[in-house]
Structure formats: C-alpha cells, structure tokens
Symmetry: C2
C-alpha cells in the first residue's frame, strides 16, 4: 500500500499557504490550472479536538462578478484542503473563510488556462435523453461495473484500469464505501477504528454496533486519498467515475451508520470529490435493499448533493426491485437494474431524462442467475438498449480460477462481451451522432438521428431482405454489421426513401445508415 | 383432384338405407364401429329446391336410457348423411327425424366395439391446465401451423402430412375456409359459384359482393368432403385438427358473408365435422383483424358451437392485437398470439384454463418480422412455454426456392426447430407426467409435477452449478439436456432435497428430474 505517498497526479494544481507540500510531484508553485482541472489549496491548521467536526473551512472563488462557494475539508495531520474545478478561462481569485482564525482570510489567485489533450470537461445531460462533455462533444456511456476498484489496492487497481482502457470502457460504477472482497482486505477503512479491529463472528454479523468499532466522526483521510488517486487515474484515461455513495453489500456495517453520520459522510465525500470533473453521484446501488434507510433518507441525500456540490455533477440512484421515482427533480437521469428495454419509450415519457440500464445482469458462470449470462445475451442487451435510444452498463462475474477478485469487484476481464460492447460504442462515435432516438413502435428495432443516422438492429430475426423506410431527399450510405462477429461490411450504393436491401438472413445483424 | 372419389377411409362405418354406397371402400354392411370411431348413415332424398335450406334431417342415437341428438346434412346429388361418434361400448340404435317424409323414421343399430391401435379417443381438458385423451392418457399439444392443408390438394397435402409425421407433431392449425395460395388454386370453393369465376382486379378487392359470386345458401359438398379426407388422414396418424372456422386472410370474400350465411356455414360445418374425434374448433385466427365482424358475432359463433356440437369439442379463438376474454364459459382453453411467457401465471389465474401460445412467430427468413425467427429462438420459445406450464405451436415461413407453398400453408419443412420441438414433446411423454405446473416466481424457469417430475430450463444463463431445491423424501434421477443439440446425458447418482449439481456453464441447457 502506498497511501498518502501517491501523487494526485496530472491536472492537479496545488497551492500552499503556510503548509508543507503534500503532493510531492505537483509543481512547487503552480499558478495555472486547466479549464475543468483541479485546483487544490492546502493549509495548515489545528489538529487538536476533532477538526472534522469543529473546523468549518470554505473558500469563495471569484472570476469577474461571478463567485463560487466551495467547502474545504480536514485531511488529517493538521492539514486542510479546499478543492476547486474552474470552468471558465481567466484569472480566478479566492479567499477562505473559517471559524478558526488561522485558516480564515487566506487569499490567492490562479490562471485558468485552456484544457489540453483528453480533457473535455465534465459530462452533462444534453438533448434531453443523451449526454455530452462540456466542450459539446457527445458522450455515450459505455461503462462497466468494478465495485471495489477504489479500495482494492495495487496492483489490482492498475490492472483493472488497464483492462478498461484495453477494451474501451468510458465509465465505471464504483463504491465509495468498502464492500466484502472475500479473503482480501480493502486498502484501509473509511473511518478511524476504535481499539483493535474486531472480526465478525460471521460475515456482516457484528455483536458490536458500527459506532463501537469506528469513530464515525473521524473519516480516514488516507482511505479517501487512495480513492481519489484512482478517480484521477480514471480521469487521465477518459473514464467517468459513477461513484456509489451507499450500498447494501456491507461487510463492515457502514450501511447503518445512522442519519447524522450518513449526512456527515456524504458532505465530507462531496467536499473531497466533487471538484474531480469525472465524478458522477450514484446515491446508492440497490437502494431498496438497504434495510436501515427509508425513502426520506434517499431523498435527503439527493438534496444534500444538490446543496453541497458546486458543480451539479450527474445524480442518480440504482434499485433492486422498487424503481425510484426518477421524475424527482434531483435525478439527472434514470439508473435502472432492468433489461426490459421495450419499456424505454414509456420511461422517457414518464421521466423525460436519459435512461441508463445500469445493471442488466452479468456475463459469467457463477451460480446466480444474475451472474451467468452468455456473452451473446449480454451483447444483445446492449444493442437492444441502444436501439431503444437508451444506454446500458456492462458487468461480468466469472468464477475465479486464480486469486484475483471477480471483475465486478476489480481485476481481469474474462468474457467475450466487453469488446463487442465497445465495438458498438465506437460505431456510435464514428457515426457523428449526438444521440439516437428510439423509433416509436418500429417494425424492427430502430434508433435514429433525424435525416442523419439510422440504426436498425434485427436481434433474433433472420432477415433476408427489408425495405428500410429511409427519409426522402437524403442520400445514405449503409453498413451491414454482425454484432457478435464485429464485422462491418459496406453495402454497395446509396439509399434514399424506401430502400429494399438484401441481408444475410441470420440473427444478430444490424444495418447502419449514415448521411452520404 | 380426386374429390368425391376419395374414401373416408379407416374408422368409418357406413350405413345405407335405400341409398347407393357413396364410399366405395367402406364395407358393404358394417354393423360395428370402434369407440370414438365414425358412424355414417347415408340416405337418398330429394334434390329439388334447395335441400341445404329446406330439408332438416336429424337422428337420435340411443344406448340404454341415454340418447344423443345429432343433425344430418345434405351432401349433394340427393344424398343425405348423419354422422355420429359413439363414445360408449354397446349396441347403439338410431332413428331419423326429418321434415321430408322419405327421410324420417329411418332406424337401425350398430355395435360400438373397443378402440384399436392409435385410437385414444378425443382430447379434452384435464387437471385444469392440461389435456388428455378420452382413455386418460395425457396429451401434450406440440403442433404446427399449415393453414391450407385442408384445401391445397394432392400431392402437397400428403407431403405435408408426411412431414408432420416424420417430425412428430400431434396437432395442426388448419383453415376450413380457403385463403390465398399465391398462383396455386384451392381444390374447390366451399360454396357453389354463380356464373363464371370472376378474378378480382387486385387481390382481395372485388367489384362484386360475395353473394353475387357464390350462392351462400349452397355449400359445395365436394369441398367439405376433401377437407374431411384430410381430417381423417390426420386422425389416422394421431394428429389433432385445430380447425379455424373464420379468418381474415380472405382471397375470395368469405370473411364477409353476413350474419345469416355465417351461421348457416357454421352449422353445416359442425354437422359434417363434429363427429371426427380429432376435431378442435378454433373460432377464428386473428379474430380482431376480421373487419366485418364484431364481438357479438364471435360470441354467437361460440354459442352455436355449444348448441350444435354433441361432443363439445375443444373451443378457442386466436387473436392478433386484442386478446379475447378467455374466461368466457365457452372457451375451453386460451389460444394466444403471444410470446410473453412470463405472463403465464397471471393468465392461469385470470382464466383458469390451459394456455396455448398458438402463434409465437415463425422460424424462417421472409421479409416480415413475424416470419424470420432463428431456429434457436423458436426452440427457446417452446422451452419457455413448457417451463411456464403452458404449451406452444410451431410455425415456419421460409422463402420458397421451388414452387411449393410456404410451410405455414402446407408443403415441406425447411427449418431446424421442428425436430427440437418434438424432442421436447418426447421428453415430456417419456417422463410419464400428466402435465407440468410452472413454479411461482422461480429462480430459474422451472415446471414440475409434485414429487414426480421437475424440469429446469436455464435459457440464456450459463449455469456452472446450481443447488436444485428438490423435495425431501423423494429420490430423483437427473438428466442434463442440451435443448438445441438434442442430447440427453444422465447425471450420475440420485438426488433428494437441496442438490448441488455441476452443469456445463453454457446457455440453453435443461435438467430433468424424474422420480427414481
């Protein structure tokens, strides 16, 4: 473990005011930060008492007449930090406020300079049902699920990241609070332990309450710092981090900390993490399986996110059996554990937001029905989602034959669907669409961008020929796609209006029309 | 064409009273009829006027204190018939009644003798959601769809039958009224033509109404006699004939004959056909697509069937978009055009009758989404139906490369699903079950007969192992089934209670447990 020592690497500017450098590799005196990069102010302050509870640090960042108020946080060892993501070019100034005199009135400035390389800014909702980067470039979520990526530790975390990059995922669902990793242990605990670590008699069954084992008023900065390193590593390779704030897979008791501790944890997490441009908030995984919380808690968490997060990062909540009312104003998009894609149009009507089928079961071979889809079925589900104008998220659970965790925690991909899925991602990106709309009651599944892109997916139909109802007056070129073999075969000619085309008469084919 | 000359072959006993033999191959003086066989009385009578309208022939068949009233029919050329299926052993006597003196008071008797060979009697509903023959042997409908089998003519009708026998179907959905056969013509028309046959300007678009082209008061006995030959040919090889009485695929206008003609046609059909033990009544195919009729017509047809059919043959109606209320008392079972098998339990609760998914789209490659399923998808749909405690019906529509009709009319099977489907039929029959019940909300699809048979179907799940929740105190042997490869592999050992078994971890496997 290399906690604390790890650099909050690229894109992070560190300002120090009477504080020792805490990020060894950061430039000694940065005065410029990329647009949507991370500015970090580190201050030395009191460590007596409980600074997590007692010290209220904030800073106001100002550009012209605009100002943004940001909360700071205690990082342990007398170290305080304020993080900020500037979103406009120019010279930003800042000044701190604090109930501790020595941390108040610290002022400075930095230049926000143009973004470089892969920095396209944060992802937001666009065109009602889709997403784009702050630069305006469309973003199509083609993500996977590695719940433990943020706390599994080296070398598995780097291995996991390498796999995501190799295959081409651009989003990952990860848990902020630890979950069971079998015989493996998380890199640290998110709160300070009280006395010796107590092992439960059996999994998730403690004789002592969580508050007798952890001081829930004292987050463990090392745990969060490690998590942040992993978020930055994702950011560097263009992967969005859909951070799951609560979950029921609780090997330590953190799902039942109580309302006060929950809210404090949430505020601390937002203060630390919200400035990272690739952060999305997933309030919970399977919220309805968390027995200790009720709907008022979930709604309150959303409101806290809205109040505390200066950047309004994307917000969602993921369910098991009971679908959350995603029409609530704080949900930026619907995050579903479902694969009934034929209901997508109804869901769009009900919620008027993007729909992410964030859990569509897992490719794998484990002894659970949710974890043993064939690669073909997982691949088809992605195509069904896209052909309905929605998005989906990959997951994989193969029985481990080595000592690596299962991919849904972290590790190595073993299945066949992942590269088929990102083949579809590339197809969408190469098409230049800003997002496809599912056709209403189509003859065969069809999603389109009016007069520009038409994608038909034939699923289990063996179509020998089809008269595609293309628009008149626009000329299209066509490509036949075998979704599992990942072949793209240009179809000769150009097409306008009703166009009958011969097809290979086998299942799992698609045809993409692009404006010629 | 060999109309009229064809023998109403095996199982038919012909009694003649002052009438020339009309069935050349029948024994000259039959006095015995098999149980559930066909007794036919042929009488000579008036041919002047319109005997179809004017002559009301009936007969009372009596065994001990029991009597059964049966309607006769005019068979053309001064020939009248009464058909009767005796269902009890013993000496039956009969006597005719008629408004024409010369046909009244004809009396006789015959012996009903034990059934032989494959004669198991008619099929009825059993155990609420299943079927059985009159002998008590379970009957599992594994049928196909050959709409034109009854009027396509030789040699295609024999070819079609050979195919059904080769593959092992035991039911077929056939239309009584003709439908379009492309450039091919039906063997005859069901009503007498008026003047020259008029070809429509375009398909199904006539300038003259049906009543100006056919005398709807005069059925064509030759058409019906041919149809009956085909019914008997099916009966001989143990195939139930699910006779579709009305349909919207109307190349001649018979779907809009008007209420009076409809009812007369229906009564004539019942008088001719109801005595054949393998007859089922399907009031319509896609009833809701027949524009000229409304719900009151469909309900009335059911009531006429109930009134006219002395044997209460199975009765159903098949829909396109609007599901008929199968809870109505005259429906013996639900006949659906659907493949949402997960709704089966709800349907059982709503209707409390067997559920036949009678149209689940077609294996094939035609340019219609309902007609180009892969063989795998068709096979899976059958397994999903059975695993939910219901039944399904096969259909096939491959583009023809020769001059044969498509299988859904009649001809040759070209697909791969048919033999997979009847493999499942044999599996059920060999298990000795009387019918499987779909488990409520099962972990994996599972249908069972309590403490005797348990069938799991894993569909797209790649199950590497599963702990089967078998009942305690019963010992089972197990067979692993690859539903598409059609392999049955015994699993070593016997199993009781919760039994963990290793499985091959690939999709489309099933496991059958049978009491050891």
């Amino acid at each position: 473990m290399k906690l604390g020592a790890g650099a909050l690497a690229a894109g992070l500017a560190n300002a120090r005011t009477n504080a020792a450098p805490t990020v060894p590799n950061a430039p000694a005196s940065s005065t410029s930060v990329e647009q949507w990069g991370l500015f970090e102010l580190t201050l030395a302050g009191p460590s007596a008492g409980n600074p997590f509870l007692d010290t209220h640090l904030a800073a106001r960042f100002t550009l012209g007449h605009r100002s943004v108020d940001v909360k700071g946080f205690y990082d342990g060892e007398g170290r305080y930090k304020v993080r900020f993501q500037p979103d406009e070019l120019g010279r930003w100034s800042y000044e701190t406020t604090c109930n501790q005199k020595e941390l108040a009135g610290k002022a400075g400035a930095f230049d926000c300079i143009p973004a470089k390389g892969g920095n396209l800014g944060p992802v937001g909702v666009a065109h009602t049902f889709h997403f784009q980067y702050a630069t305006g470039k469309p973003y199509f979520p083609f993500g996977t699920t590695c719940y433990s990526y943020g706390f599994v530790g080296s070398p598995i975390d780097e291995m996991t990241l390498d796999e995501m990059v190799r295959v081409g995922f651009n989003k990952v669902r990860i848990c902020l609070l630890p979950k069971s990793l079998g015989k493996r242990k998380p890199v640290a605990m998110p709160f300070e332990s009280i006395g010796a670590v107590v092992e439960p008699e059996k999994e998730n069954d403690w004789k002592t309450p969580i508050s007798a084992r952890f001081d829930l008023t004292r987050p463990n900065p090392a745990y969060f710092a490690h998590f942040e390193e992993r978020i930055l590593a994702l950011q560097k390779v263009g992967i969005e981090a859909d951070i799951i704030l609560f979950h029921p897979y609780d090997a330590h008791g953190f799902s039942a900390m109580g309302e006060e501790a929950d809210d404090r944890y949430l505020r601390y997490a937002v203060a630390r993490l919200s400035a990272f441009r690739n952060v999305w908030w997933s309030v919970a995984n399977e919220f309805d399986l968390v027995k200790s919380k009720s709907m008022k808690d979930w709604d309150r968490f959303f409101r806290i996110l809205q109040e505390e997060d200066p950047y309004s990062r994307l917000r969602s909540i993921h369910h098991s059996k009971v679908i959350y009312d995603h029409s609530k104003p704080w949900c930026t998009h619907a995050s579903l554990q479902e694969y009934d894609f034929e209901k997508t149009a109804d869901r769009f009507r009900a919620w008027n937001k993007p729909v992410l089928y964030d859990e569509i079961q897992y490719e794998g071979n484990i002894a659970r029905r949710w974890g043993n889809l064939s690669a073909e079925e997982m691949t088809h589900r992605f195509w069904r989602a896209i052909a309905n104008g929605a998005y989906a998220t990959h997951g994989e659970t193969f029985q481990q034959t080595d000592d690596l965790p299962v991919w849904s925690d972290a590790g190595k991909l073993r299945g066949q669907s992942a590269e088929r899925i990102t083949f579809l991602r590339k197809l969408l990106e190469d098409s230049g669409t800003t997002g496809l709309t599912g056709a209403v009651d189509p003859y065969y599944l069809n999603a389109f961008e009016l007069d520009r892109i038409y994608l038909w997916y034939f699923d289990y139909h063996c179509v020998g020929e089809y008269e595609f109802p293309l628009p008149e007056k626009v000329s299209f070129r066509a490509t036949l796609i075998d979704v599992f073999a990942m072949t793209k075969t240009p179809i000769e000619g150009t097409f306008t209006g009703k166009s009958k085309i011969e097809l290979p008469g086998k299942p799992y084919q698609a045809v993409l029309f692009e404006k010629a």
